[in-house]
Symmetry: C2
Subunit: 372 residues, 2 copies
Amino acid sequence: MVLNIPAMIGTRIEDIDTPCLLIDLDAYERNIERMARFINKQGLRHRAHAKTHKSADISLDQMEAGAVGVCCQKVSEAEALVHGGVRDVLVSNEVINPNMIERLAAMATQAKVMVCVDDIDNIDDLSAAAKRYNVELGVLVEIDVGAGRCGVAPGEAAVPLAQKIDAAPNLTFKGLQSYQGKAQHVHDYQERKGKIDEAVEQTRNTVDLIGKAGLECEIVAGAGTGTYEIEGTSGVYNELQCGSYIFMDADYQRIAMDDGRLIDDFENSLFIYSTVMSKTKAEKAICDAGLKAQSVDSGVAMVFGRDDIEYIGASDEHGVIKDPENVLKLGEKLKLVPGHCDPTVNIYDWYIGVRGGVVERILPVTARGMCL
Amino acid sequence: MVLNIPAMIGTRIEDIDTPCLLIDLDAYERNIERMARFINKQGLRHRAHAKTHKSADISLDQMEAGAVGVCCQKVSEAEALVHGGVRDVLVSNEVINPNMIERLAAMATQAKVMVCVDDIDNIDDLSAAAKRYNVELGVLVEIDVGAGRCGVAPGEAAVPLAQKIDAAPNLTFKGLQSYQGKAQHVHDYQERKGKIDEAVEQTRNTVDLIGKAGLECEIVAGAGTGTYEIEGTSGVYNELQCGSYIFMDADYQRIAMDDGRLIDDFENSLFIYSTVMSKTKAEKAICDAGLKAQSVDSGVAMVFGRDDIEYIGASDEHGVIKDPENVLKLGEKLKLVPGHCDPTVNIYDWYIGVRGGVVERILPVTARGMCL
């Protein structure tokens, strides 16, 4: 097995091999601190979303800053984080495959584990597995407050699920998962706020109905980096799940530039570090970060801190950099801001943490590729 | 470390965990056989492109069917293949970073290694490293025949590079790398052929000029799945580098459907296997394969063999399946054809090879994430 680590502790930034993921540790620590300050001020809990970074080390940094635990989207991802020392994890997603239900329950012998449901029969399967392992699983009912993906309709539909969870052996009804994923990347602030206002009302109504049925929603969870201030001041949500704030990305940066609200407190702390590997043309350069170094679902990477050059296209192993003034040199290194951090991180095995031009931390992407 | 393998040998297809990469072994073997038959008939060599599959096992399957070796794009990728038993590898790309030049030369103590150049000073660096390890590196001059990425202009510009390689200690001039990557995915056949006809003429001219300078191009390399028949019957190219033919993907399939020529011999043999994980709405279903299960640079995945449902959107961990007749059931499994196989494969650690509804081979994606 080739470990293939692009640097060592103490390597100077100019000597790091590329392409790789670089963390600006100062910016990263400021991002953690800023989110913690907001959440503390509001008297809320933060359950940081580890789907962004897939790192046990980063999860533990977030928990040290006050997060109560993490959430993630897959059982195998949760396992990797638990093996890395995280002891409180919510799978903020449904778990359907029988093997994965088994692994979810087994994991609860080592950590506090919660999961979401949106199907009545799934509750029986979870309960049976939890019973086999003699564990207690916390369960949230997921409601669809506009993302159009998983979750039952808000309102009455959530009540029988909550009741069945409450009655099921080895399951504890914990509350609601209510994430409006489609609002996060809406560029117009008023439109974004409108979507969340609606989600807040639907969530409040669902909490009330469940309350009338005699059950308490100890956790009302949701929110992302694009909208956390709205959920966080709603009086309804009490556990925020923001993840991307820790790195930011080009898409969130464009939103911040468009409306200058909410998310302009956070800085780009994650970069794809790349080398100019071919310079045979005056007007452009080819760098070594292409489609296998980033996910382009939200657009290609942006060159950080440069307006004289532009990343304009990606093929499998190459990026094309427009270089109208012919300033780039063969071997020159560039910091690129990923278009979308989550699926980009999922390609890499290592983060290289840099401070003052020197590698200070090397973090494995613990749950890379853990999609089961 | 969590190995997280989605199946075992003998697992029935319906019990495989998802999302994962599935290989239909019958279709895969037919694809290998068909390409080998064409290349043998033309009296050419096949150096299969391992950038598609990143697997040492698949490389060895291709070599058993007659391929002379493989090519790949990165030194670390080549190392992984060499460690997996491949003993003849061309890095069909430039290697610029000093550490990677060192690793390239070191690798040549274990395997036959070739590399490309498009910069005159790079030749000195390669020669010095090869000398340090007392190895001989084969070197191709890359010319840009229309892809607009790496490579010097075809014609005169290639000659001094060839001469310098020929004169450099521990380097052997082997010929030309001449791949028209931009033609592969052109949907109109005449337009695609026009681009390759032009590339063939530029390559022929460059071979002639190098010949007049007293050097022979033992290897004239290029071609991809979209155009191999054109280069393969040109009389100029003698080593074809097709890779995607082994799996095909949705984009190549659309090209085949559009023109019905060249690439309709190959079958989809690679699938993203996915489970319906939420079915709370009549008109759609949510599956467990989203952006972290595929690269969407060439469009989202297609559902294989079904025209009653359609994969219409991806978020990080979810795919949205349009289900107008409400036929999908929770837990149902689907075979998805990736939009673009190469960067999709690069996300996964394992291939699950299936025949007759049962898992027969499990292959590691040996060079997954090897981007250095």
